[in-house]
């Protein structure tokens, strides 16, 4: 269906139409033409379903940031080993990956269980006993090995990074064995997505996971008060402490919901700052609105990347400003330069500019100094683009390296650069000599602040989806983009889990335990009068006293 001429004209007159794309009807999943437009300095998406009418949704909360970020557009190389060979591109109907997908896998998720030790009312990711069609999904070792093989078979860039996810993956007692299998298959980076509760309860797990090969924890952390972070407010500090002792890095992952926790983004960064010796990153996730919601409700909770970035500027008292953020594909010129130098296809972050953003902040004299405050990032990436063009046009490689050696330093403002840091040298070593040894030192005193806005049925943009590089591996050896897998679970997640899972009752009989046996009983939560806690409460623990915003 094409939008009517009359409709198009009306939109053009009232709004500034930016471009056309495709989306789905949130009611019936029908694929529809969609228009991205600007109104009052915000960016919206609209489409009209012949059966269910128009859906208009906030797409990006700041038009100027949209313009700035869109300038880093870069379609990726995709992957040459599609599982779904298809000419007719019909996103999101043929994911697997299909031959039209534009990014190789950046991070592959493997769900190892959909059981969880919490029962958060808003979560759709765990098996709910008693619901019709509730299946426990736990792929076995052979299936997991085969999924890793499918990832490593991607060409031209074999996948190399896996996130073990759930449910709550630590409920699988064979988790160390699973990690070892992934390692045996040659996966370098293994991230464990967890609520941290089991690690808080059994701190020795952190070392066991680390020794098995886990690179870092990806831990849910929605706020610095018990009200905003009911999930693991009391437990997170213990989990972090266990990781500190095991030297296992932690990424804090707040889901940001307008009117719920969007006032605590600065507090979360502050908490990461207090734990910078072990917290490597904070990855904010503006909420993806699942389930049926009225427009009014969506407006209440919807927050987009620019909105969160602006709140961070306000809540860090300007330590991290809106100008310090760059969209994920801004890294592409670095990839292109290295590819031109080495003639080898490199791992690239070619997602859509509207999907994610990030910045590095360096800790200096108790303050966070964003990298963009002492590096001319725009100038540097433009220079690398030009040098990649030179190399691709036949310029002498050694001459180009010599020029780069002289020039790269000029993009670093040495007066503003934090003491003890020589970023010019570090960049040259990494870009030209492919020596990444000193990057570790940089990371020790720095935090990566990232943001990814997972899509939902109301704002889904097929242009974004086609460029997605966060994927799921499934036992049928498909590789499915995150925002298909979770946004249309009836086509992907639920079908896979039903096909490869077993009814709850069958799982309970087979394993001799009840699903609820492993539910968390709140042992670490605040001590109430007359109750004895297994460990000191977080509220009194020194580790939490440092958090300015403690509720």
């Amino acid at each position: 269906m094409v939008l009517s001429q009359e409709y198009e004209e009306k939109k053009t007159v009232e709004y500034n139409v930016i471009k056309k794309t495709q989306s789905i009807c949130p009611e019936c999943n029908r694929i529809l033409p969609a228009t991205i437009f600007e109104r009052d300095q915000k960016v919206y998406m609209t489409r009209t379903c012949p059966d269910h009418g128009e859906t208009e949704e906030l797409y990006y909360g700041d038009y100027q940031m949209y313009l700035k970020f869109s300038s880093y557009w870069d379609d990726g190389k995709g992957t040459m080993a599609p599982n779904v060979a298809i000419d007719n591109c019909q996103c999101p109907a043929n994911c697997g990956l299909c031959s039209n997908h534009l990014s190789h896998t950046g991070l592959a998720n493997i769900i190892v269980t959909n059981r969880c030790d919490l029962t958060c009312w808003y979560c759709f990711f765990y098996v709910k006993k008693g619901l019709e069609g509730a299946y426990v999904y736990e792929p076995d070792h052979e299936q997991i090995r085969n999924m890793a093989k499918a990832l490593k078979a991607e060409r031209p860039v074999p996948g190399n990074s896996i996130q073990i996810t759930g449910g709550e993956p630590t409920l699988r007692d064979d988790l160390p064995e699973i990690v070892r299998i992934l390692k045996e298959e040659g996966v370098d980076h293994i991230q464990l997505n967890t609520n941290g509760i089991n690690i808080a309860l059994k701190p020795e797990l952190a070392k066991i996971y680390r020794d098995a090969g886990v690179s870092n924890l990806y831990m849910s952390f929605d706020g610095v008060t018990a009200k905003t972070n009911p999930k693991n407010h009391w437990e997170a500090p213990y989990a972090i402490d266990a990781c500190r002792k095991a030297d296992l890095g932690v990424v804090l992952v707040p889901t940001v919901i307008k009117s719920i926790n969007d006032h605590e983004l600065g507090g979360i960064i502050d908490y990461a700052k207090q734990n910078i010796d072990i917290v490597r990153a904070v990855n904010f996730q503006p909420v993806s609105l699942t389930g049926r919601m009225s427009k009014k409700e969506r407006e209440k909770y919807r927050i987009t990347i620019p909105d969160a970035i602006k709140r961070i500027e306000a809540q860090t008292n300007g330590e991290v400003t809106a100008d310090d953020w760059f969209p994920v594909p801004s890294c592409s010129p670095i990839t292109h330069f290295i590819e031109s130098l080495t003639h080898k296809k490199q791992y690239e972050l070619s997602i859509h500019f509207a999907c994610g953003a990030g910045t590095y902040v360096y800790m200096s004299k108790g303050k966070l100094v964003p990298i963009s405050q002492f590096v001319d990032i725009k100038g540097l990436v433009e220079y690398l683009d030009e040098k990649a063009d030179d190399l691709n046009s036949g310029s002498n490689k050694y001459m180009t390296i010599a020029q780069a050696a002289l020039r790269i330093n000029s993009f670093v403002d040495k007066k503003k650069q934090p003491e003890g840091l020589n970023l010019g040298r570090l960049l040259f070593n990494a870009l030209v000599r492919h020596d990444y040894s000193s990057i570790g030192q940089f990371q020790m005193k720095s935090l990566f602040l990232g943001m990814m806005h997972f899509q939902d049925k109301y704002n889904q943009d097929e242009e974004r989806l086609q460029r997605c590089d966060i994927h799921y591996l499934t036992p049928d050896l498909r590789i499915i983009p995150f925002c298909s897998f979770n946004v249309i679970p009836e086509w992907y997640r639920d079908r896979v889990q039903k096909k490869y899972g077993m009814p709850v009752e069958e799982w309970e009989a087979k394993n001799g335990e009840k699903l609820e046996d492993r539910l968390y009983r709140g042992q670490l939560r605040k001590v109430r009068p007359g109750m004895k806690a297994e460990a000191p409460t977080c509220a009194t623990a020194e580790i939490y006293q440092k958090v300015s915003n403690l509720g």
Binding site: Q22, S70, D385
Partner: protein, 190 residues
């Protein structure tokens, strides 16, 4: 043995030219402390312009050759070619970026999915619904500059504009550069 020449190779062999450079002064007489406003307009024609079109976009995209960078340069000079001096100059980059469009009006979703957007010198992308729009935006420029005539000094001067455009090798064009000079015009500084 027959040699087959693909359409792309034919495009590569055609020369790229710069149109005559239009150079205008807002006024032909100024005082020493008054800014001189000039405008320069030029247009690329031939080889590269003809090669950067839908028929070649698909092939270039398949080779992951997706970014056409054009470097523009311009200077306003006084005096002759040998002994003249540069009064003011500017350099900037525009980009043609090939991408997989999901605009149903531009693509049939099967064979012709690749479209081009054009980025201005600030990097901001502009979308066009017709090929000519993309080409006009990329390959034509009008640039306005102003300067104080102090470095010229009082008297009668002959000014001209020099312009160059540079690009790199792609599947549809060889690396190249073109330059041109406008006719001289007089400026009187009081």
């Amino acid at each position: 043995m027959a040699i087959s020449i693909t359409s792309v190779e034919r495009e590569r062999s055609r020369a790229t030219l710069l149109s005559p450079v239009e150079f205008k002064l807002q006024t032909d007489e100024v005082s020493l402390d008054e800014a001189v406003k000039v405008s320069v307009r030029a247009k690329l024609e031939g080889g590269l312009v003809d090669a950067f079109r839908r028929a070649t976009w698909q092939e270039a995209y398949a080779a992951h050759d997706i970014l056409l960078r054009l470097q523009f340069g311009m200077s306003i000079r006084s005096g002759g070619q040998l002994f003249g001096k540069t009064i003011v100059s500017a350099k900037w980059v525009k980009k043609g970026i090939l991408f997989w469009t999901r605009d149903a009006n531009l693509t049939d979703n099967v064979t012709n999915m690749i479209w081009a957007m054009a980025a201005d010198e600030n990097g901001y992308n502009h979308f066009f619904e017709d090929e000519q729009g993309v080409r006009d935006f990329l390959f034509t420029f009008t640039r306005e500059l102003s300067f104080l005539p102090v470095s010229l000094g009082r008297g009668e001067h002959r000014l001209h504009a020099e312009v160059f455009v540079k690009w790199w090798r792609h599947t549809y064009i060889e690396r190249g550069q073109v330059a041109a000079r406008s006719p001289s015009i007089s400026l009187k500084v009081r």
